[in-house]
Subunit: 355 residues, 2 copies
């Protein structure tokens, strides 16, 4: 069924020229007679000829493809990142080879690393021009040694940009968000709203994102002498665990006045738990979180959260990768990313707030 496609040799025959001439027309190079150029172009257009990227890659050593390794594409944060990266890459003429390792949430760590290392191997053999890594094992404060070996090997062969909190002295190219600042900002906001007893829920222990956000929360709470170890409930990044943590808090019969959730999904689960017990957010307990997922403006209550400017983050990541591939063609422009913005909405209980 699959109809045979044309090759440059056939086009050349049709036009009565050599393959090199066709190639020159195809790549809009000089040194081709205008009349001949037009004729060849016409045949090219008429036949809908698509030069084989495979053959091209053979000799040019460039595939115009980026590899993306993402740990959980179903997490809205990563979904946004992937879609923005895809757009930026497309603008620069690159396609995306996607590897979703789905390693977030309760897998054995050994499984996680093998799935990710496997992805690295596929990327090496596919000869992508660069790799973007979004989360996964690298998010761990203390990543697996085999994983780091594999990552180093990968980075030796091709440009790699990692969207995660930098791993000290690792020598990799990181693009990071202000995780700690996000947490201090949100905690300070809750304090400013008049709450002193503030809990922290969600986030996987051992993950840098969690560590840094927790550190930010802790720092502020300690400054105001109101930190309590037993107000911290780590788990993961999903709504279910927000629900579970809040349920636990409620059953303890010692409700805090406010809660910092690791992200909007966890906040959603927490609110759901409150409602199930006849409690109201923000009246009985205020909630604020991070990550500004697209739908959280429509939750009831609307969730006070932090916008990390993920679109910009994606653009910077792609810009860095392009620069690593071709510094003259893609000079590094401004790589600064705005500090996270506080989006004050209803859930933190400030009077008269909405969207």
């Amino acid at each position: 069924m699959p109809k045979k496609e044309l090759t440059i040799v056939e086009i050349a025959k049709m036009a009565g020229v050599s393959t090199s001439t066709v190639s020159r027309v195809l790549n809009k190079q000089d040194h081709v007679n205008p009349a001949k150029r037009q004729k060849v172009q016409e045949i090219l257009d008429r036949s809908g000829f698509q030069p084989s990227a495979t053959a091209r890659a053979m000799v040019s050593k460039r595939t115009n493809t980026f590899g993306v390794v993402v740990s959980d594409i179903n997490n809205p944060y990563f979904t946004t990142l992937v879609s923005q990266i895809e757009a930026a890459a497309k603008d620069a003429g690159y396609s995306l080879l996607l590897f979703n390792t789905q390693t977030a949430g309760g897998l054995q760590q050994s499984t996680i690393t093998t799935v990710e290392i496997e992805a690295f191997h596929r990327l090496e053999e596919k000869k992508v021009d660069g790799v973007l890594i979004l989360g996964g094992e690298i998010d761990r404060a203390d990543p697996d040694a085999d994983y780091l070996d594999a990552l180093h090997q990968l980075a030796q062969h091709l440009p790699v940009v990692i969207v995660a909190q930098p791993l000290k002295d690792s020598g990799f190219n990181f693009v990071a968000r202000y995780q700690k600042l996000a947490a201090t900002t949100i905690t300070q906001h809750l304090l400013a709203c008049g709450y002193h007893d503030i809990a922290f829920i969600g986030g996987e222990p051992g993950i840098t994102i969690t560590n840094e956000r927790l550190a930010g929360y802790r720092e502020i709470m300690e400054t105001y002498r109101t930190f309590r170890e037993d107000r911290v409930f780590l788990s993961d990044y999903y709504a279910q665990s927000g629900f579970d943590s809040m349920t636990e808090l409620i059953n303890q019969n010692d409700l805090p006045k406010a809660v910092v959730a690791i992200n909007d999904q966890v906040a959603l689960g927490a609110i759901r738990a409150l409602n199930d017990h006849g409690l109201n957010c923000p009246k009985d307990i205020a909630i604020a979180s991070c990550d500004a997922f697209p739908n959280s403006t429509f939750f009831t209550p609307r969730i006070t959260t932090i916008d990390h400017h993920n679109t910009r983050l994606a653009q910077i990541a792609v810009a860095k990768l392009l620069n690593a591939i071709s510094p003259k063609r893609y000079p590094l422009g401004d790589l600064s990313i705005e500090p996270p913005s506080l989006l004050i909405r209803e859930s933190s209980g400030l009077k008269g707030t909405k969207s």
Copy 2:
């Protein structure tokens, strides 16, 4: 910086054998002396050699890559689909080349089609082994002619599977959901709950998903002689339009008793609008929708919705594509998909319901 990688020629030299022998070891073929095989394998392992997929593709004419063209990866329905497709493809040894055309939501139709046609061209030149199309222009009841031309051309060159409602007599390979049945089910459920005045909100006009769901709703409403043209509010698939439609309904001062929303996001927006006006769902107005997005169990109220078994849908799509590529290796098994399941939760107002 990028360190040069090894080639088969160098491996062959190191092992003191010919390239064909190395190739045979690499591909676990017969006719190689066990001792020699082991020696070569050792060198292969030690050097971490990754054969060039590009060179391999040149001669084998297979890239072990699928192209995926998705119209809006930020829509949770498509995100789920992509992640499941990725998993199924990976199991069969295929990688995914991702094209997000982001054509959902308010673009000029001419732009939509050019972006998608552009993606088709990229896929042809990248020589993928098969293409999956998820939504986009094909979702239109009357797709653009240029688009259909391009799609036909693509399908002539390589296997294509489309996840969308079948376009009559188009000859393409479709994988579809029971859209109409979903709508009749959800409408009947609301009627069974005792509501007669039921509105329909969300969905883009001219899109088959919308048309079929609307037709299902209408059919049931007409059966019970309760259909009203002015109870239909089409728009798109996002929370904002659910919010807008519901706001309009409220301002009309003639509230229906229940609402069918095109999906959970639209339902979320609608509920938000109700709350803003001091109205309660399900007390003042019941809502039910389709698509069972991951977080909708945690909304307040939990949303009654329809599960379309999207995981299965993704698996079927990949199975069909694999079969189109190699019928003997991947015989078509059972391709049936369960009819959509009704998930009765709080928002439709049935007493004593929760999760």
